[in-house]
Amino acid sequence: MVTAKGSGLKCGIEIHQQLDTLHKLFCGCAARLSADRYSVAMTRKLRPVAGEMGSTDSAAVFEKAKGMEFQYFSYPLESCLVEADEEPPHQINQEALEVALKVALMLNCEIPGEIHVMRKTVIDGSNTSGFQRTALVGMNGWMQTPSGKVGISNVCLEEDSCQIVRKEAGRTVYGLDRLGIPLIEIGTSPDIHEPQQAMDVAEKIGMVLQSTGAAKKGLGTIRQDLNVSVDGGERIEVKGVQRLGMIPKVVEMEAARQKVLATKGKPVASEVRKALPDCRTEFLRPMSGTARLYPETDMSPIEIGKDYIAMLKRNLPELISDKAKRVASSGLNDEMVNQLKQAGQLDAFEALAKAFDPKVVAVVLTSFVKQLKGEGIAIEKLTQERLHEMFSFLNVNPLPKEGMLDLMRGMSNSPQKAPKDLAKAGGMSDDEVRVLVRKVISQKKELIGQHNAEQALMGLVMKEVHGRASGATVMKFLKEELGARK
């Protein structure tokens, strides 16, 4: 195995992250993948743009695209005439622009005085227009890693492309729902010299993006590409690295592959390769020439004032890593802090832990939420406000784990109902509690009169209550029943 050290490894990363905005970047459609029924919107062809046919490379691409037909599926809430490339783009989504500018500032970028939306030629049909709209919002930034500073060459705000529904002979079928979802593209300079550093960079950029609170989560919402070269050789682009953990291995193996080629005297051709699940790479396509970018003539440049930038700088989101450090200093163990971080619950934790037992809050926000999500409960209905309500109730009416989970289920399913109504509704009537208390006492007569009898009986009753009645109620009846027997 060739080690990266001394191999003259140069690596850069390109990260694409979908934003979790309400609307798409250039229209009012919902920015999400659709679960709705589709209808066939149209069938199209694409042509090379005039003047692009000079080089043999793009001519070949043109010939290939020429016979291709593209069919598009539309969705009632996630596509309109803008996605159909009929209506011109609307004004840029301010929410998305602001997030992109914040990310650029968090990565120490310069912000241009005017942002120009550009068109990047794409003729595989994944953009109905034949181009992707993209704008440079930040440049010449940097970030710190344990093994040195890495330059951020560009932060761009762009529209996501259509997703492929299926490929047929001579025809590709696309869904219009993903087209136009705001996407931030972050490209680093080739300043990465260690495989592990590549992962550090990707992780940190991911953390910065998540810190905005506006990055989508889940499968397919973030895509990582790598640029790898050794000893000043040609640059190879590796697309589709699925998991963060794969990055060091992919870099290492790709560098090794290039080294082997070089030692055999074979030239390393600049090409685009695809990352495989076992971290090897395979040939995907030749490197396309430098992307042709030309202005989006349907939009005016967007002026970015100094005051606006200053305002954004004053209001940059706190980094998740800083938040995690603060939470750790509050006495929670590292494992718990990490779980809160992974679950994106640091903010909720900090807010709730001010008033309630931090350990209980942490468990509720991590393992309880996870369990209920797994059950398919609409846990997002349990807002921070509702959680506050719940913990206030629990302070007075402590419930065991099962009871708390039941209460959380109830509060998610009935967002209007108060915890006290739900705890009762899902639980036992006073009579039922009294009957249960009597039954346990009669079964465990031997305990009566003994030291700690009350506590022992309480424990036994509560085990059978399963959270269907509060501890206070049980204790009340237990005391009454025991008193009656004296």
Partner: protein
């Protein structure tokens, strides 16, 4: 700032180095795009992205020693005696434009070579002759421009061309199509086309519209018509009679639809033609004639609830010689109200100014009898019912008619007679929302 740049010999397209304190930007100087602050400079960075930079006091700029090379390429058009000759009359608009990759600007493609580079298929279909009498946005066109186009088309057809293609902005394309329908007596096709999506995008409708137009122009259909996308797909174009075509959508590529009529044909870019209309003029051998006499002092008005008819009286004083009113429904104008249009219509007609009434419903025929208000308008005030004519077509026709006669009776007779397919006495059910 401009003078600073020009004093250093810097022009658009030059590579420059711009320093703002320690920050240095290098890129190609771009033309300004739209409304911008006077002190901002647009650079194309090596990455291809454009950014705007506010150029302040103390900032410096210089031309770099190495400069980009112009990458303009041209395909030479060669003559082939086995192919038909077509004349392309370019008038401006989205369709005849090209992108300059150096500056990113879109400019008019007025020479045959750059046009053929845009749509290379045309050279395989015909020997293309290019004429460009003027370059205008279609909404800026006047009746004098229609006269020029009619004359140019007739000249082309009488000097060896098998057909004419006119590229045109789309907004007022319907008006020009109507005007040429009345002005031209042609034995060969005259095809107007345009583009809803400019050629600087891979999804442009330009090429398919041009190819289908060339097919129409070499076909047997000796009609003046518009040939543009028939659907949102890139499948076929509709060839629609020039007096019956209307732009029905601001943005869609299938915006041009026939009104109260069927399209002449569907035309596929692979050369297939499917006739839709039961009748059309066939290609002949006679001479093309341009009869361009035109009265430009005509007006198109809209009558709507609350509308003020004194606008008519005002225009009469301004010398307007004829009116087309877009009425409501069957042709109604406000009558039993303070702002009745009847007195103004009556006064106009009595002073020899014809008033034609069409409908703002767009589809359907006006009627003179169904309601008493209609009878008042047509029988008492002597307005002319525009039958199933498009209001825009009636407006153009009235100008052409008044260019040929000053007589009210003759004008009425001509307005009610079908000259160029603009009126029919039968309305087929399929024609609605075709």
């Amino acid at each position: 700032m401009e003078s600073l740049f020009s004093s250093k010999g810097i022009k658009i397209g030059d590579k420059v180095r711009l320093s703002k304190g320690v920050v240095v930007y290098e890129g190609i100087l771009m033309p300004s795009a739209g409304k911008r602050e006077a002190d901002s400079v647009v650079l194309k960075l090596p990455s291809g992205y454009n950014i705007g930079i506010v150029f302040g006091r103390g900032d410096t700029v210089e031309r770099t020693p190495e400069q980009p090379k112009s990458a303009e390429r041209r395909a030479a058009a060669s003559f082939d005696k086995n192919k038909p000759q077509l004349t392309l009359i370019a008038t401006g608009g989205t369709v005849a434009s090209k992108i300059d990759y150096r500056t990113g600007g879109v400019s008019a493609a007025v020479d045959a070579d750059s046009l053929l580079a845009t749509v290379p298929e045309l050279a395989k279909m015909a020997n293309m002759k290019l004429v460009s009498p003027f370059m205008k946005m279609s909404e800026d066109m006047q009746s004098d421009d229609w006269k020029v186009l009619a004359t140019e088309a007739a000249n082309a057809l009488n000097s060896g061309s098998e057909g004419v293609i006119i590229t045109h902005g789309t907004d007022a394309l319907g008006y020009t199509a109507a005007a040429l329908s009345f002005m031209l007596k042609t034995p060969k096709p005259v095809v107007l086309t345009g583009s809803q999506k400019s050629i600087d995008r891979g999804s442009s409708d330009t090429a398919m519209n041009m190819i289908c137009s060339a097919i129409a122009a070499t076909s047997e259909m000796a009609e003046v018509g518009v040939c543009m996308h028939g659907t949102m797909n890139d499948d076929y174009c509709l060839f629609i009679r020039g007096t019956r075509v209307r732009k029905m959508n601001t943005v869609r590529r299938d915006a041009f639809r026939p009104v109260n009529d069927l399209p002449l044909a569907k035309i596929w870019p692979d050369g297939r033609i499917q006739r839709i209309h039961p009748e059309h003029a066939r290609r002949g051998t006679g001479k093309a004639l341009a009869d361009t006499k035109f009265e430009s002092k005509v007006a198109l008005l809209k009558a709507y609830p609350g509308s003020d008819p004194s606008v008519m009286d005002f225009l009469v004083k301004k010398g307007i010689r004829g009116f087309v009113i877009e009425g409501m429904g069957l042709g109604h104008v406000p009558v039993n109200t303070e702002k009745s249009w009847l007195p103004s219509v009556k006064a106009a007609v009595q002073s020899g100014i014809p008033v034609v009434v069409c409908s703002q419903t767009i589809y359907g025929r006006v009627n003179e009898h169904v309601y008493s208000n209609l009878r008042a308008l047509f029988h008492d005030a002597h307005a002319i019912g525009g039958e199933d004519m498009l209001a825009e077509t009636a407006y153009v026709k009235l100008g052409w008619v008044l260019g040929h006669t000053k007589s009210m009776d003759k004008a009425r007779e001509m307005m009610l007679a079908n000259c160029a397919g603009e009126i029919s006495d039968r309305t087929l059910p399929d024609t609605f929302l075709y």
